[in-house]
Amino acid sequence: MKSFRTNFLAVVFIVTILKVVSCTPESCLEETVAEMKIPFYLSSTQKNIAPDSLTIYGIHNESNKLYNSTKNANRADLPLNPSAESCSFVIRINGVSDTILLTYDSYAHFISKECGYTYYHTIDSLAFTKNMIDTIIIKNRFVTTVNEENFRILY
């Protein structure tokens, strides 16, 4: 009887400690922003080759450049605007500018208790100018935090 009472108090104590520990916020170590993963391919050789210079920024957000004369970037990661249904980017490859326009749907996605919520997107359409870009191949319309290729830019 006595041992059972001791047992009872011990279990309640352990459970309380476990509960308090489990409620202590932990760090968010996961990727929290879904971005389009766009590798660059040279159309003549079909090889994944970085442009000599790459500049990318969003239209209406010109002052904040995602890539600014960056060298050795054989892939661009571009975030979409969840509060809009479309957005455009200027992509300047080796000094020649193109514009791409994307329309998409955005939806909330739960990452984890530590990280909270993010937005995922489904691409509806893509349009682009062809000054330096030769073509864009759509590989995967679903833009998530998973490291998967979405488009392939051939220049």
């Binding site: 309640v12 409620c23 995602l66 979409l80 509060s83 984890s112 208790k113």
Partner: protein, 234 residues
């Protein structure tokens, strides 16, 4: 004749009986760790009770129900969920009848759980290249399913009053909310972000004996010893 009668009396007094009388019981119990935790953290309330009935000395049926109210917040979101859950299944007692005697139970409970709950995210904040967005996910109803295995112990402390504890291992079947909006917590199961969840329960129980059965006791076979020629000589 007297000698043989005497030996019969001695045998009857020393040998264990072939059967034991086991009282079958209906148990009505309440889980106590939920309310105890609520005293230290009033963001989370979990109240749970059950009724179970012995079918025989080994098997019993179990029906449990509970209510949960869970709140969580951190720097970039708030989360609220509340709802009811039901659990149904069987209890299996691994103790031998002559040890258990209807008072002690050491075994495992196997259950199916159904949780009907609502959850909402009143506010969450998202930040990327395009700026910071503050948004919310409105309250919706969901129906989650899970399986539970609960090994544990119970002991009758006073006449018709028992205490017991169990470790609960739960396997998620479906949260009811799809893969994008999995609930952080859903009643009865726990963390909806995990496919396996764990918990500990401590129960206080009231027992109502409703029937007595006689159960055959399996006698232990005496250990066989090899007798050697040497020992026979001695």
């Amino acid at each position: 004749m007297l000698l043989s009668a005497g030996s019969f009396i001695v045998r009857a007094q020393t040998e264990p009986p072939d059967t034991v009388e086991i009282p079958l019981k209906i148990r009505i119990g309440a889980e106590v760790t939920g309310p105890v935790i609520y005293l230290t953290d009033n963001n989370n309330l979990n109240a749970e009770g059950f009724i179970s009935a012995d079918l025989n000395e080994r098997w019993g049926v179990f029906l449990g129900a509970g209510y949960s109210d869970f709140r969580y917040s951190q720097y970039n979101y708030e989360y609220l969920s509340k709802g009811l859950f039901l659990k149904a299944g069987v209890d299996i007692n691994f103790l031998r009848p002559e040890k258990a005697m209807g008072k002690y139970w050491a075994g495992i409970g196997l259950r199916y759980g159904l949780s009907s709950f609502t959850y909402e995210v009143p506010v969450f904040e998202f930040e990327n290249y395009w700026g910071t967005i503050t948004s919310s996910i409105p309250s919706s109803d969901y129906l989650g399913h899970y399986l539970e295995a609960s090994p544990g112990f119970k002991a009758e402390m006073f006449r018709n009053f028992s205490m017991g504890w169990s470790v609960n291992i739960r396997r998620l079947i479906y949260t009811g909310a799809g893969k994008d909006l999995r609930p952080i917590y859903f009643p009865g199961y726990g963390s909806g972000g995990e496919t396996i969840s764990y918990g500990i329960s401590y129960y206080l129980m009231w027992n109502i004996p409703y029937k007595k059965i006689n159960v055959l006791v399996k006698k232990e076979e005496p250990e066989e010893t090899e007798e050697t020629g040497e020992s026979e000589i001695r």
